[in-house]
């Protein structure tokens, strides 16, 4: 079981802790054994401890410490945002955020929908059981 996600320049990471919690950032340089220089299109470039980052599968091709404009272009070219939102990890985060922001009314509607779905599933199951039994 070798490692698959390496800390390298251009590695896209998710911030796990701190003010920028939940943001996707790109490792732009390595400061020392514990810290990386990290950048994202909507934040000021700064250092971050590796312990605050979770590496993702995605990597973009940038030179070491690129200009902000170059970084943004590279991210657009690699289409990081869409790839992230379509990945299972990204999808899970989106669902979690949605669940956290649900209204009381929304939760009620979801409950009704769940009951309905369960009813439909049970009916189908009953049909299949009957066919199998006969």
């Amino acid at each position: 079981m070798p490692f698959k996600r390496y800390v390298e320049i251009g590695r896209v990471a998710l911030v796990n802790y701190g003010k920028d919690y939940g943001k996707l950032v790109v490792i732009v340089d390595v400061v020392d054994q514990n810290r990386a220089l990290v950048d994202a299109p909507d934040m000021v470039r700064g250092q971050m401890n590796f312990k605050r980052l979770q590496l993702t599968d995605f990597k973009i091709y940038i030179p070491r410490v690129p200009k902000k404009k170059t970084l943004i272009e590279a991210m657009e070219k690699a289409d990081v945002k869409n790839k992230w939102e379509n990945s299972s990890w990204g999808k899970k985060l989106i669902v979690q955020k949605k669940r956290a922001s649900l209204n009381d009314f929304d939760r009620f509607k979801i409950m009704l929908a769940k009951i309905k779905k369960a009813g439909v599933v049970r009916q189908e199951l009953a049909k299949l059981k009957k066919e199998n039994a006969s």
């Binding site: 956290a100 922001s101 649900l102 209204n103 009381d104 009314f105 009620f108 509607k109 009704l112």
Partner: protein, 233 residues
């Protein structure tokens, strides 16, 4: 009011430091020319004729002096402010009642009364909550809002909800031991009519939103795994 000066007033006594002027009182008297005004007026300061005081009635000395000096309580001129309504509660908001007979019921907020209590209705046909007053502290405001423009709420105020005063009947001994023949207090017809009038309009707006009627009919409860401090209402 005197006419406004074109230039702002410049003091003739500049501050050396805050609170300490350059010139003494006597020097300032001379600088302001008060000696000249006095001289012009014949050695006295000019002054207006005092307004004639109204004639005071002759006060008789009191007949009775209390033996001990009684302290008067200090004057309290505070006026209580009307209860501040939470920003999340606006007319038409769906509220969750947290205490009382209708605990957990989801209810429509109509307006805040002058006593600070909130006027609220089920609507009655949907969940059995009548036009009722409710304290703001026992209520969770959800972010679901219903349009209630078009409902006339002018006739509802705190006096509308006041208890009816019954005349106390004096009981004779025999009647004390008789069973209390109190019939159930019936709601007067006009209150029922008021309820129907307010609800008719509300129910129309509620049926416009899918599943809102079932939502208002259901009670709220905390289930396993729900953390109130993390829930968004």
């Amino acid at each position: 009011m005197a006419a406004k000066r074109k230039t702002p007033i410049k003091t003739r006594n500049p501050d050396l430091i805050r609170g300490v002027g350059k010139y003494s009182r006597s020097k300032m008297y001379h600088k302001r020319g008060l000696w000249a005004i006095k001289a012009k007026n014949g050695g006295v300061f000019p002054c207006h004729e005092p307004n004639p005081k109204p004639a005071t009635a002759v006060e008789k000395p009191p007949k009775f002096y209390p033996a001990d000096d009684v302290k008067k309580p200090l004057l309290n001129k505070r006026k209580p402010k009307p209860t501040k309504l939470r920003a999340s509660i606006t007319p038409g908001t769906v509220l969750i009642l947290l205490a009382g007979r209708f605990m957990g019921k989801r209810v429509v907020f109509l307006k805040q009364l002058t006593s600070g209590l909130l006027l609220v209705t089920g609507p009655f046909k949907i969940n059995g909550v009548p036009l009722r007053r409710v304290n703001q502290s026992y209520v969770i405001a959800t972010s679901t809002k219903i349009d209630i423009s078009g409902v006339n709420l002018d006739k509802f105020d705190d006096k509308y909800f006041a208890k009816e005063v019954e005349n106390k009947k004096k009981k004779t001994e025999g009647e004390f031991f008789e069973a209390e023949k109190e019939d159930k207090k019936k709601l007067p017809e006009d209150k029922k009519e008021d309820q129907k009038a307010v609800d008719a309009f509300l129910i129309k707006s509620i049926e416009g939103v899918p599943e809102l009627k079932a939502y208002l009919a259901a009670r709220f409860s905390l289930k396993s795994g729900m953390k109130p401090h993390e829930l968004v209402f």
